[in-house]
């Protein structure tokens, strides 16, 4: 069965510290992977995606993620967190053809001054 696991429900980091949000997936085929960010009361915004090619992908707002097939992971990283990064982050997986996308349960990020 297809699924996405985000093991950390909530993470707190200090402003300026580095960040890594974990994402593991279970998918029967080669996946199409995404990270989204959601600010309170808002819809989701795409941070980055992986489809093929370089396994280290760069996104908006200084985020990057690395696809590791052997570990079925797609972890999100940022070298220096800003207070405005406080939000909820969702990892998602989808088919290369088709429309059934699966989302993780989200990781809530708090940034302390």
């Amino acid at each position: 069965a297809q699924s996405v696991t985000q093991p950390d429900i909530h993470i707190t980091v200090s402003e300026g510290a580095s960040l890594e949000l974990r994402c593991n997936y279970s998918y029967g085929a080669t996946p199409y992977l995404f990270w989204y960010v959601q600010s309170p009361g808002q819809g989701l915004q795409l941070l980055l995606k992986y489809f093929s090619g370089d396994t280290l992908v760069q996104g908006i707002k200084g985020f990057e993620a690395e696809f590791k097939r052997s570990q079925s992971s797609f972890n999100l990283r940022k070298p220096s967190v800003h207070w405005s990064d406080a939000a909820e982050y969702f990892c998602a997986v989808g088919p290369r053809t088709g429309n059934q996308f699966y989302f993780g349960t989200g990781t809530s990020l708090t940034v302390i001054p």
Binding site: Q42, G43, L44, F51, R96, Q100, F101, Y102, F103, G104
Partner: protein, 118 residues
């Protein structure tokens, strides 16, 4: 925001009543989706559409129906609302030229509808 609006933005209704949520887009995208977001579950796909009158079920379609009579509108109907359908509902469109994974292939989400069923 890819020109996506949802209406209503908030609704409180009673168990057993019918409810219809509307998603409207202005950019003529082929693919549209309805998701629900619940704590501890993330987003789950309810139904999606790949063209006028072309729809298919998602992961959690029981209790929901959809219709798409025009490209710009995708309606989600709860025929008889239940308390378990209290949730935040998001509509999304998929932008792209049909080439999956291309630089334009991206889902854009609407602002959401908060539905409470008492």
């Amino acid at each position: 925001d890819a020109g996506i609006t949802q209406s209503p933005r908030h609704k409180v209704t009673e168990t057993g009543t019918p409810v219809t949520l509307r998603c409207h887009q202005t950019e003529n995208h082929r693919y549209m989706y309805w998701y629900r977001q619940d704590p501890g579950h993330g987003l789950r796909l309810i139904h999606y559409s790949y063209g006028v009158k072309d729809t298919d079920k998602g992961e959690v379609s029981d209790g929901y129906s959809v219709s798409r009579s025009k490209t710009e509108d995708f309606l989600l109907t709860l025929e008889s609302a239940t308390s378990s359908q209290t949730s935040v509902y998001f509509c999304a469109i998929r932008q792209g030229t049909g080439l999956a994974g291309g630089p334009e292939d991206e889902q854009f989400f609407g602002p959401g509808t908060r539905l409470t069923v008492l």
